[in-house]
């Protein structure tokens, strides 16, 4: 029996899709069987980030409408064995599927995979409701900006009223240099407002843009700081105790981060 995670944020552009692709890939690298479900119907991106766009034949809507079998719609990743994508339909909209159909689909996927990761669309409307309907757990992605944190707070409230009261938080695109100068919200400020458990912190990293454009998740790149952070998050999801932001690859950064996360000294 697998676990179904929904990755959500409320605000757009904070890195839900990138996070979904990277965590999913990292879990697959650990030998798990993972399916990534793109719930952003009409604005699908996950396939592009994974570099699987040209392999799509059937999609999520085809499955729920019975036009194909689930197995036919699953796109197998070109690099990692246990990784699959169930793409969204690009020519339909969020109303093409109901929360109930989503629940049934998640139930079916849960039986076949270790992890089901749902990439939730931005917003709080139908697309959000569909995406959270079948989930067992939620991951809220935010960036350390006031507007994104506001939206994350709203989403946490909505998750609670949708039966997901204990989501975990990923703080994405943290600019360590800016936090040091006091120009950016730090991790403590963010957690202080949102009041949920921290699953991971992903530093801002140019490699992400490059890897997204190339369709190769950053976790596969050993030199990427963000990739390392995502690998750590995947390990935490599997239940391993990994301290937040433990970058062995960069010693000067460790010291900065220890100040950041250690005893809460700014």
């Amino acid at each position: 029996m697998g676990e179904v995670y929904v990755i959500t944020s409320g605000k757009g552009g904070v890195g839900k899709t990138t996070t979904t692709a990277n965590i999913g890939t990292a879990l697959a690298m650990e030998g798990k069987k993972v399916v990534l479900l793109d719930a952003d119907i009409g604005l699908r991106n996950l396939d592009v980030v994974l570099g699987l766009e040209n392999r799509i034949v059937y999609d999520l809507i085809d499955v729920v409408e019975g036009a194909c079998r689930l197995k036919q719609a699953l796109v197998k990743d070109k690099r990692f064995d246990g990784l699959f994508l169930l793409p969204a339909a690009q020519t339909r909209d969020k109303n093409a599927i109901s929360p109930k159909q989503m629940q049934e689909l998640c139930k079916e996927l849960r039986d076949q995979f270790d992890y089901v990761l749902i990439d939730c669309p931005a917003g709080i409307e139908q697309g959000f409701k569909n995406a959270v309907a079948g989930a067992d757990k939620a991951i809220v992605v935010t960036i350390p900006e006031v507007s994104a944190v506001r939206d994350a707070d709203r989403i946490i409230g909505l998750l609670a009223s949708n039966g997901l009261p204990y989501p975990e938080l990923i703080i994405n695109r943290l600019r360590i240099d800016m936090v040091k100068r006091g120009d950016m919200m730090n991790i403590d400020d963010t957690i202080d407002i949102l009041g949920i458990d921290l699953l991971g912190v992903v530093p801002d990293d140019e490699n992400i843009v490059v890897s997204t454009n190339k369709g190769e998740p950053a976790v596969a790149n050993d030199n990427s700081l963000a990739g390392k952070a995502y690998r750590n998050i995947a390990k935490r999801i599997e239940g391993q105790e990994i301290p937040i932001m433990d970058f062995e690859s960069d010693n000067s950064l460790i010291d900065k981060l220890k100040r950041l996360f250690g005893m809460g000294k700014k």
Partner: protein, 221 residues
């Protein structure tokens, strides 16, 4: 039924004395004395405001009644103004006063909320509200009475929403986006000030809303 012809009723700030319109003055006074004697301990030490209802009193009668009972208890204001014709109005007033008891800022019902009130959520209650958690930006707390936040108040709070200017807002960390008491609306100063590390209280004095450190025992609001 003779002994039940004078009724006492607690109202806001005093006692309502309802008397039988047919009753003779002497009988009324003797019953009143008995009743007051029975609850002498309750009245001792405080000035009691009385409102007589149910019958008309002439000026002589009024003075006589006041003379008799002022020997027994210390009297505050005594009001005879409510006549039989005003009975209905009086009823409405009584209901209003009862509502004051149920939803008032001195005494009344309270709603307890456990947990964080998040962006987009709203807690709305006629009485007092106590939040055992944080109130985040974008959340709204609307109370007929007082609001007490045992956590950070960062959202909007409106105490005394039905017009009660005696309502107060207390928070362990008071940094609301907007604060309203009664019909007064205030917002936080634009220039970011240091986050307070002590509980604060907001209250109305005159036309102004004051925010002060909350110091137990030094209550002047």
């Amino acid at each position: 039924m003779k002994e039940n012809r004078v009724f006492f009723k607690g109202i806001l700030g005093g006692l309502q004395v309802h008397v039988d319109p047919q009753m003779e003055l002497d009988l009324l006074i003797s019953q009143l004395k008995d009743k007051l004697a029975a609850s002498k301990d309750f009245f001792s030490g405080t000035a009691v405001n009385l409102v007589f209802t149910g019958r008309e009193f002439s000026d002589n009668e009024k003075q006589h009644v006041i003379d008799c009972i002022s020997r027994q208890i210390s009297l505050g204001n005594v009001d005879f103004s409510i006549s039989i014709e005003k009975e209905e109005e009086n009823m409405a007033e009584t209901i209003y006063e009862t509502a004051d008891k149920i939803y008032g800022t001195e005494e009344g019902m309270a709603k307890f909320f456990r947990g964080t009130v998040r962006n987009g959520q709203r807690i709305d209650y006629q009485g007092n509200i106590i939040i055992m958690g944080d109130v985040n930006p974008g959340a709204e707390i609307i109370a007929g009475g007082n609001i007490i936040v045992l956590g950070n108040l960062r959202g909007m709070a409106h105490a005394g929403a039905t017009g009660d200017m005696n309502a107060v807002v207390i928070a362990l960390c008071l940094q609301p986006t907007q604060l309203r008491i009664g019909n007064i609306i205030t917002r936080s100063p634009e220039n970011e000030i240091e986050k307070p590390h002590y509980p604060e209280i907001a209250y109305i004095n005159g036309d102004n809303l004051f925010i002060e450190p909350y110091t137990p025992g030094k209550i002047k609001y």
